[in-house]
């Protein structure tokens, strides 16, 4: 039940995209998201869709994994579409009772839906092809200039990687405790909201205790290995760009330039 959550989970495969430097993927994801807001025409979205489909094909991640991630935002998507559809003023298309669908409304609703789903699929492509650790490595390196502004870049990256590392552990733990309580006759599914919230207590208390215990253990283990922050710390496998990464930057640049051109011209 709980293992079905894919948003932000790594899918193991051996592909060009998987092997790219995490910095490239981070920049590409940000670039892709910006490009979605730069273009505002059908041509632009077709280009974005083609780019996205090509990347998914290259990544060897089954398409249904992306769709699974979409499930989490179905609700948001629905609200966006409904609101845009009925509340945008303009030339009326269909009118039933007090609700009017306008031409502009339809256009914006569809565009928003496409934009949102591309956004989610694009960013889940990054997390599906990059291990959390290399992702934070990439972030740390990208944000390095901020160090001169006294931003604790290393500490933030470390916190992020620990947080990410704990997601699957805590999910597994949740699954285990849930099963243990179900075995004791607990019921997490039926009843009204208050009853359901109350039913969470036997799950949340042990989960919090175990999270604290694990955090404590981890802190101990880190201290036992003399961890003391980012100062003068070197990496065993430092990130460095290779030929494929440069080509990827080139492709990204071409795509982005194309999108800007479309955005300006159309």
């Amino acid at each position: 039940m709980i293992r079905d959550i894919t948003l932000g989970q790594y899918y193991q495969a051996d592909s060009v995209i998987h092997r790219l430097d995490p910095r490239v993927k981070l920049v590409a994801t940000i670039g892709f998201i910006i490009s979605l807001f730069v273009v505002d025409s059908w041509v632009g979205y077709v280009v974005a869709a083609l780019f996205l489909i090509a990347m998914i094909k290259l990544s060897k991640v089954p398409f249904r994994y992306m769709v699974k991630g979409m499930r989490a935002i179905v609700f948001i998507l629905l609200i966006t579409v409904v609101f845009n559809l009925f509340l945008t003023p303009g030339e009326p298309l269909v009118s039933v009772w007090k609700l009017t669908i306008t031409k502009e409304g339809l256009r914006i609703a569809v565009l928003m839906a496409v934009r949102l789903s591309f956004l989610i699929v694009g960013s889940s492509l990054m997390t599906l092809t990059t291990t959390p650790n290399s992702l934070t490595d990439g972030m740390e390196k990208l944000m390095k200039p901020l160090k001169y502004l006294k931003v604790p870049v290393h500490e933030i990256a470390m916190m992020m990687s620990i947080a990410l590392r704990f997601i699957p552990i805590l999910l597994e733990e949740t699954d285990k405790i849930m099963k243990a309580q179900i075995a004791r006759g607990a019921d997490f599914e039926s009843g009204n909201l208050i009853k359901k919230a109350k039913a969470m207590v036997p799950l949340l208390v042990p989960l919090f205790i175990s999270a604290f215990r694990r955090a404590n253990d981890l802190a101990m283990a880190m201290e036992a290995r003399c961890y003391r922050g980012g100062e003068h710390r070197t990496k065993m496998k430092p990130l460095c760009y290779r030929a494929a990464d440069r080509i990827a930057y080139g492709v990204l640049f071409l795509y982005f330039a194309g999108c800007v051109t479309i955005g300006v011209l159309l």
């Binding site: 899918y11 099963k179 243990a180 075995a183 004791r184 006759g185 036997p202 205790i209 175990s210």
Partner: protein
């Protein structure tokens, strides 16, 4: 009254690159009142198997019958089943959550919809069954020692008065004294109440003393299913799957090899002692 597993298969993460075939064509009959040891190396599928017994996991294919009824039938009462097949998970002390020991043990019977009085009676009886002293009843479960916490957690399941008690590695992480205490308590409980007990472990030594039947799992399938005597005769094969027979078996085998006429199927130290003395033409 029994549990029957009919061609049960279970695959983790089906249709993904990481799918694992955790159970392969498992067929078992678990009659009432048996004391069974379920043995297997880490990752052999024993924990997966026991979670099928009370319907927490649904087999990918195959069926499970409890008292002749398919537990995955649409209108089968799973809650009722879970009170009949009590499952104590690995490290059960991690599931404790109430403010005191007694309340925590009450959780199970309360979920069954029993009256306050009945709930408390059962909780009290269960705590007595696991041998916890009265003075601990109103303490926070988090202030107890590891062994005591585990007893409380086991009592939490016992309070539902199960007909079948499944314990997944009940001695993991306990010191030898704590281990013997827990196992002795379980054996005593079995004797007093006559319930079916399934003891999951990776240590033959632990179970040899208590159980009447051993099921050995290897890579998701049942390798041996027989009395300890017969299973331990396969000690060479057991070693190959990462398990070992009790030390007594090795001693008896070594003695037999040296020409002593002993019966090598002795499973406990007491039996071995008898055998050796007999071979030496002496009696106790």
């Amino acid at each position: 009254m029994s549990i029957i597993l009919d061609h049960v298969d279970y695959v983790y993460g089906e249709d993904t690159a990481l799918s694992v075939h955790a159970l392969k064509d498992v067929n078992l009959v678990i009659p009432d009142g048996q004391f069974i040891g379920l043995i297997g190396h880490t990752g052999s599928g024993k924990s997966t198997l026991v979670q099928h017994l009370n319907g927490l996991m649904r087999p990918t294919s195959g069926a499970i019958y409890y008292n002749g009824e398919d537990i995955h039938e649409k209108d089968y009462d799973k809650k009722q089943l879970r009170s009949k097949v009590g499952l104590v998970f690995q490290y059960p002390e991690h599931q404790l959550f109430e403010i005191d020991v007694f309340k925590d043990v009450c959780f199970g019977p309360k979920n069954l919809g029993l009256s306050q009085k009945e709930t408390e009676l059962r909780a009290y009886a269960a705590l007595k069954q696991v041998g916890l002293e009265d003075e601990f009843f109103y303490q926070s479960p988090f202030d107890l020692s590891g062994g005591q916490k585990r007893r409380v957690a086991i009592a939490g399941v016992l309070a539902m008065k199960p007909e079948v008690l499944v314990l997944d590695e009940p001695t993991a992480g306990l010191d030898p004294k704590g281990r013997d205490e827990i196992l002795d308590q379980i054996a005593k409980l079995k004797e007093e109440t006559g319930i079916t007990v399934i003891l999951v472990s990776h240590s033959m030594e632990d179970v040899a003393k208590y159980v009447e039947r051993i099921i050995v799992m290897n890579r998701g399938s049942v390798l041996y299913d027989d009395t300890p005597r017969v299973v331990f005769q396969h000690y060479r094969e057991l070693e190959q799957v990462g398990l070992a027979a009790p030390q007594v078996t090795y001693i008896m085998q070594a003695l037999a090899k040296r020409g002593m006429s002993v019966d090598t199927s002795a499973t406990t130290i007491a039996e071995a002692e008898q055998e050796i003395l007999r071979a030496l033409h002496r009696t106790v």
